[in-house]
Amino acid sequence: MNIKVLFFASCRDLIGTGERKMTLPDGATVMDLISELASEQTRFIDMAPSLMVSVNQAYVERDSELQEGDEVAFIPPVSGG
């Protein structure tokens, strides 16, 4: 399946881009996506525990299954206001 992945703030700086198109096996979960990203950028594994994840703009848990066309975002602890 093909998904769009968004990165913000410190996470965007680490990955080096704000948006990536990625292809994952059918049935892949958020955790599988994290593992894939960590295999490319090892420091992502250190950051991952502090990140929230959203799918199609709603917060989800790590075991959520992804679907074709999903918009996934990695969200560092927010600091608006």
Partner: protein, 147 residues
Amino acid sequence: MAGDVYKIQDNEIKPDALYDAVLADSDGAVTTFAGVVRDNTKGRGTSYLVYDAYRDMAEKKMREIGDEVKEKWEIDCVGILHRVGRLEIGEISVLIAISSPHRKASLEACHYAIDRLKQTVPIWKKEVWTDGGEAWIEGDPSALAAR
């Protein structure tokens, strides 16, 4: 005609427009809160701030906050604006205006709304200090457990 407003914007926040947007003839109170850029963080001089947002989701989460306060208090309209990009000292980063028939509801709702915004809305602040350093500021990770 008063209405709700939830917006991430690049340009300067002007308080009067939001005040006018939420106020109807049946209201007896409007409470506004403005967050502004301070010139230091714990004594370290701030040069300017840069805000980043996941725009579509941020506006959606701000609307959810508006829906929450309307469930908890007798509220007429809710307006929440947050600016992104580079902000100078003294400029408004966030503005909330809440109208209600009676003052207590809008006072309490406004306090609740800014606290919730800082917990759930995907917006980030980068501090650029006068000593040349800069860093993305991270909020309390446990706050999102209350999303």
